[in-house]
């Protein structure tokens, strides 16, 4: 019984590698400063850490806890050829494609959401071959990040067998289990160069507390070679130490901390604000007549023209932010 796996090779033609050899993985971790130190910086400073062609794991899922401010900063900084990976992708994927920041998204599902139909930008870019939507099952995405977090090159799983999803994936393997003889699919680890994760609160060292749905973010944080954390607010280390059971990402995995209120807008941040539905409707409507022109105009107005993140929020509008915050906080009401 032989398990054949090619390691330390990029899963794509672009530069960012996502499955590393164990030596490389450990070397990159050892090279990081893992001491208890302050890591607070600006969005622009954090964007400058990420080179063109880097592989990026994006936290949250669909319209939830999307690190949108960091995606916004990378697009404004003119990043190209980022290889992006996320469990489920939504408008942030459209904006990454349309801005030219990424031509390769590894994910299980990519559209806006059931209310708005199939993504016209996803269709326009993938059907013409201008960008790649590499499709894995949702569990496969999760186990790829988990393998990465465990320092293992792969994990076995039981779905995707017999499907065409599997036949499109040269990086997955089918084996006969050495113990039971059953067929299993092996999915390779994802160890992205950077994880972008948004949380409700963390301290200046990067001890991050997450409320509500954690999605794949704990695994993603440990799988990545560097973690850029955006947070609704920075709290003291004393406050973190009062409830260490609430800390989901340890400081030693974190490389940058940026305080960004409403950092997921127009997506939601659990307990803080729900999706900004009116703005998402406005976005979807802007893309209706001509998706590509519509998203270019949207990028200009909301991504390139604003002087700051606060200016971006100002353009979205106070009424929307207040309403989303009211709905968001209501999750804790009886």
């Amino acid at each position: 019984m032989r398990i054949r796996l090619r390691l330390a090779r990029p899963c794509n033609q672009l530069r960012g590698s996502v499955t590393l050899s164990y030596d490389d993985l450990c070397r990159r971790t050892r090279e990081r400063d893992r001491s208890l130190r302050e890591k607070v910086m600006s969005l622009d400073e954090a964007a400058a850490l990420v080179p063109d062609g880097a592989s990026i794991g994006i936290g949250g899922s669909t319209l939830s806890r999307t690190p949108l401010a960091m995606v916004w900063a990378l697009i404004r900084a003119g990043r190209r050829d980022l290889v992006c990976a996320r469990g489920i992708s939504s408008s942030e994927g459209e904006l990454l494609f349309a801005s030219g920041a990424s031509r390769h998204l590894i994910t299980s599902w990519f559209s806006l959401g059931i209310v708005w139909g199939v993504s016209r930008i996803m269709r326009a870019y993938t059907e013409t071959g201008r960008a790649r939507f590499e499709e894995w099952s949702h569990l496969a995405m999760g186990l790829r990040f988990r393998a990465g977090a465990m320092g293992l090159p792969f994990l076995p799983m039981r779905s995707m067998l017999g499907s065409d999803v599997l036949t499109q994936l040269p990086d997955a393997r089918v084996i006969d289990c050495p113990f039971t003889g059953e067929k299993l699919v092996l999915v390779p680890a994802l160890n992205p160069d950077f994880a972008l994760i948004h949380v409700q609160r963390c301290d200046a060292y990067g001890n991050a507390q997450i409320d509500g749905l954690p999605f794949m973010d704990l695994d993603l944080a440990l799988a990545a070679n560097r973690v850029i954390l955006t947070t609704e607010r920075i709290v003291s280390n004393d406050q973190i130490r009062r409830r260490p059971d609430q800390t989901k990402i340890p400081f030693l995995a974190v490389d940058a901390v940026i305080e960004v209120p409403f950092g997921c807008a127009p997506h939601e941040c659990y307990g803080a604000y729900e999706p900004l539905f009116d703005h998402l409707n406005h976005y979807a409507a802007a893309l209706k007549p001509d998706a590509e022109q519509g998203i270019r105009d949207y990028l200009a107005r909301y991504f390139y023209e604003p002087a700051s993140w606060t200016d971006y929020l100002d353009r979205i509008g106070l009424a929307e932010l207040i309403d989303a915050a009211r709905r968001g906080k209501s999750i804790y009401d009886d």
Binding site: S61, V118, V165
Partner: protein
């Protein structure tokens, strides 16, 4: 379509008919849209002990009327739930065998219950790139499936362009032979009737018709030859109670347009 349009829409018929398939005490893994709505409807009517799981990471959902989520990943999914957990971990409950039934919508289905939500045309040069599997492949691979979808010829095809979520693959034992030893397609609920799969050939079979629908109409809206039970029963039309609760849950017709 062939519904008593004065009383209910095709989507409402789908939601009611599929809700009736869920039993009290079951654990159901539901996708967004009609599945989420139908599971919530069952929970409010005949199956108060139904446990609803969402792939965003929710165990024991109890969705609030009029507060339906835009996907199964938002905080609305978690209100009054028993537990939130990581999306990988909730999907692993399928693999571990805790789930009785998976429940989702479908864009395209074939005679063996294979679902396509990835590509119309060839993957290398598709005429339409669809949103992809999400957790669909995992649910269909690991548990018994109920699919709710509109009954149209272009959606019911002899062979799907791409198997995103496996049904019985090429029929017979082929699903088991590729290593999928658990689950399989159980029911397909449409706005025309209720369908299942033949025990040995695994071909799609008409099990019941909705009121006012004939077997010939079902066949005429299907792109392959259906097996048909002799003495086809007719389903009871949606009751006033079912429709009232459905509209209470989705007053804005977010999922039942």
């Amino acid at each position: 379509m062939m519904t008593d349009s004065a009383r209910y829409t095709a989507s409402e018929l789908l939601a009611v008919m599929s809700a009736r398939l869920l039993q009290d005490g079951q654990v159901v893994f539901a996708g967004v849209g009609i599945p989420l709505l139908a599971a919530s409807l069952a929970q409010r009517l005949h199956a108060p002990g139904l446990t609803i799981l969402f792939e965003g990471g929710t165990i024991g959902a109890y969705v609030e009327p009029g507060q339906l989520p835009p996907s199964t990943n938002e905080q609305r999914c978690t209100r009054r739930a028993n537990m939130v957990l990581g999306s990988t971990d909730v999907l692993l409950l399928l693999q571990r065998g805790y789930v009785d039934v998976g429940f989702m919508g479908g864009a395209q289905i074939d005679q063996y219950g294979n679902l396509n939500s990835s590509y119309i045309g060839l993957p290398e040069r598709p005429t339409t790139r669809l949103p992809g599997t999400g957790g669909g492949n995992d649910i269909a691979s690991l548990t018994q499936m109920i699919v709710a979808m509109k009954h149209e010829k272009r959606r019911f095809v002899e062979r799907v362009d791409f198997v995103t979520s496996p049904g019985f693959l090429a029929g017979g034992n082929s699903r088991r032979e590729v290593g999928l030893s658990a689950g399989g397609m159980f029911r397909v609920v449409t706005d025309l009737g209720l369908l299942g799969f033949d025990e040995s050939s695994k071909r799609m079979t008409v099990l019941a018709l909705h009121p006012g629908v004939t077997a010939a109409e079902v066949q005429a809206n299907t792109g392959f030859e259906l097996l048909v039970l002799s003495d086809l029963p007719v389903t009871d039309p949606p009751s006033n109670d079912e429709l009232a609760m459905l509209r209470h849950l989705d007053p804005d017709h977010l999922y039942t347009a």
